[in-house]
Symmetry: D2
Subunit: 141 residues, 4 copies
């Protein structure tokens, strides 16, 4: 499988991403985008995206960005992440971008950026940093 196929196959098995309505965008070596359209299930009473939804897609984007650089037969786990919520997350959809900052055999570090997109406008609404660990893959049922 190509890195694209591996990422898409894994993404499709993630109950949470489907449940939030998130979908994969660009997938390249060391960089993955995840899109989340606005709807009441992921927003607050003022129509802003919930910080938990913003963080969830940021965490997944970073995890898959790392995963694109891992060899077959391995899997990825989030060790930790830190995220700053910079501005109200309001728009038609969010776009989370995970980018590998430092790849490694055991640990990989990613930058996380989340943009709110409204028409032509693209606003940075969250930024963070994440540590991931490469582990042996478990056989899928």
């Amino acid at each position: 499988m190509s890195e694209q196929e591996r990422v898409r196959a894994s993404f499709d098995r993630q109950g949470l991403m489907a449940h939030l309505g998130a979908r994969l965008g660009h997938v390249g070596p060391g960089v993955v985008h995840i899109l989340l359209p606005a709807r009441p299930e992921v927003t607050q009473q003022h129509g802003y995206f919930h910080a938990g939804a913003t963080s969830a897609i940021a965490d997944s984007a970073g995890g898959y960005a790392a995963y694109t650089l891992f060899p077959e037969g391995t899997s990825v786990l989030t060790v930790e992440f830190k995220i700053n919520l910079l501005a109200p997350a309001v728009g038609e959809h969010l776009e989370a971008v995970g980018t590998v900052l430092k790849p490694g055999r055991t640990l990989t570090v990613c930058r996380l950026d989340v943009f709110a997109v409204q028409g032509e406008q693209r606003t940075l609404v969250a930024a963070g940093q994440q540590t991931l660990i490469q582990v042996a893959a478990r056989p899928e049922r």
Copy 2:
């Protein structure tokens, strides 16, 4: 309104928490618990809770813990948080505990702890730290 009533009223307006199936547990001054039962929508292919779901309830628990100490007419926003995922999050439900570590007029800092509960067993699966800011409340529609 008592702090309990204010927290419950706000929680009930949060689309994301309802959508995940989370519910409020204990609410006291400076401490709030949020419970998340296991179901495919918040777990991965192996039955573990998704890191994004774990983080989302941790962030909300900390936000409400801070909010219990805020005066009426104010609201709370997450400035940033950092969370370590310590162990596979597997069990009947997760219990996120937000505890105010340092209250302040502008900024409040909380500890975040998430436990996986299976029968009598309670395992710490995530721990973090969060900064929140007190802002003027917007009128609700």
Copy 3:
């Protein structure tokens, strides 16, 4: 060597700790204290401890707390840490406490607490969380 002796031997080789005037306090399994007396070299123009000094002893306290639980022939490296500066750090000395929250074969997670001590008074001035990795020790010259 006992864990105490290993920690003290390593601490004594650290140029930075000596240069700052820091000294080891309590050393137990999974917990290490480091003390830093106030003097102009580690403070600012207002007599507060510099955030960089506060962080440096917090990072070292956590690193050594993890190290107490590691087997002989291994060493410890900081993967990352996050620290909140909660209150002006002013007093006769600082006391940083590193405590293992979750030990592991590869990664260990610690809590970091820093207190400012003035006579009988002990104020929490910083709190954080840290991830450490166990590596094979290099031969000392």
Copy 4:
């Protein structure tokens, strides 16, 4: 005073930076560099820079980067920072770069990057993110 003069005047009053042997590099609107030459006082037994020294100059670089955008009569405090140590910090000197990611009236968020410089070679050895708060300046004695 220009932003450059304000930053240099403040830097010169910081006991810790002088004590470590750090000096200001480039100072521009929203970006500040701090250099730290290698010497035994800031390194470990293997000649690597100590994580505490790396973090201290990163924290200061970010703090001054924010400060360049603040109005006169104000001062800056670090609320919190998170830093990943990506590679052994070894070289002739370290160069910490603080860059404002999101300025604000109350809170400012910075990226922190630290490079180890050896001849022509420049290696990213640490990366982080920091939250700062603008406060009223205290009169200097």
